[in-house]
């Protein structure tokens, strides 16, 4: 799908916590968006034409709108521009962009998604599409690293998917979880070190560059081949 410029309008905003919000944009001109799960859009964020990239977090089977998951903490041009948008405000968008999409099924044993923070955005789109639209039957596992309990969101949505699809597993990991946090604590790499990682798996990594480097090194040391590790660095 060749990228094109379009106008979209802020239709809804879901405030999850201090750090994260979800934005829903309704297509204005043209009225339809076609993209592959995992792709991102580039939004004009100031009058000089400066742009920022944001992965679409919604299922690509919806064409009249798209959703973005924003981590507000950087507080630079992009995040403040989005934060200041009011309902009905129009944005100038270029997309779809990016090659970080689901790879063709090569018969890998498992599909594993590893995210930190807002790196969950493209994975939500990919996982919804895989399970709900493609009817994927191989095991699909999501590891998601955040800092504190207060940063968590979507855990009920992912838990609903766990309940509905027996091949889907979800592991939230908190680097600074409280004493009460019952699940994995530490960095995502610590959590991965104690779980079975299939050598013949298809891996998708998304988030900060350091996590991607560390996890990639870990995977290669476990015998995963480089072609089976796909990644997108956000910063």
């Amino acid at each position: 799908m060749k990228p094109q410029r379009f106008i979209a309008k802020l239709a809804d905003k879901e405030f999850f916590n201090e750090k994260f919000s979800k934005y829903v944009f309704e297509m204005e001109e043209p009225h339809r968006i076609d993209f592959e799960s995992g792709q991102y859009v580039s939004i004009t964020v100031d009058e000089t034409g400066d742009r920022r990239s944001y992965s679409v977090c919604s299922n690509p089977d919806t064409h009249h709108s798209f959703e973005l998951l924003i981590d507000h903490s950087p507080q630079g041009k992009g995040t403040t521009f989005l934060q200041n948008l009011k309902f009905g405000d129009e944005i100038d968008v270029m997309g779809p962009l990016g090659r970080f999409v689901l790879a063709p099924d090569k018969g890998e044993d498992e599909i594993v998604f590893i995210a930190t923070g807002s790196g969950i955005a493209p994975f939500r789109s990919m996982i919804l599409y895989l399970l709900q639209d493609l009817g994927e039957k191989r095991p699909v596992t999501l590891y998601w690293g955040l800092r504190h309990e207060e940063n968590l969101f979507w855990q009920n949505d992912f838990q609903d998917l766990v309940d509905e699809y027996e091949n889907f597993k979800f592991h939230p990991v908190l680097s600074r979880g409280s004493e009460e946090w019952p699940l994995c604590k530490g960095r995502v790499t610590d959590c991965l070190a104690v779980h079975d990682l299939p050598a013949k798996g298809c891996y998708y990594l998304c988030g900060n560059a350091k996590m991607i480097e560390d996890v990639n090194t870990l995977l290669l040391s476990k015998g995963v081949v480089a072609e089976d590790v796909h990644f997108e660095k956000f910063y």
Binding site: P3, T48, D50, L97, G98, R99, K233
Partner: protein, 86 residues
Amino acid sequence: MVEDSVVQTKQIGKYKVEVIRSKCISAGSCEAIAPGVFALDEEGIATVISQDGNSDDEKLLAAQSCPTDAIVVTDIETGEQVWPKA
């Protein structure tokens, strides 16, 4: 030098683009927006395959869409750096 002059004579628009390899994170927007100018090499890093494969507007849009400002656009007539803005 010979290579430079080849590029100059082929150039149609007034913008010249360069990629700062160390900044490229392989996101691929440049290639998607201006495929006649940018292509990702075997390491996934953007390279300039031609200066005249797309219009100046498309070259500038590709640079503006680069998440890491890895693409520098220069106006060859004035020598001014058009993107990123200083």
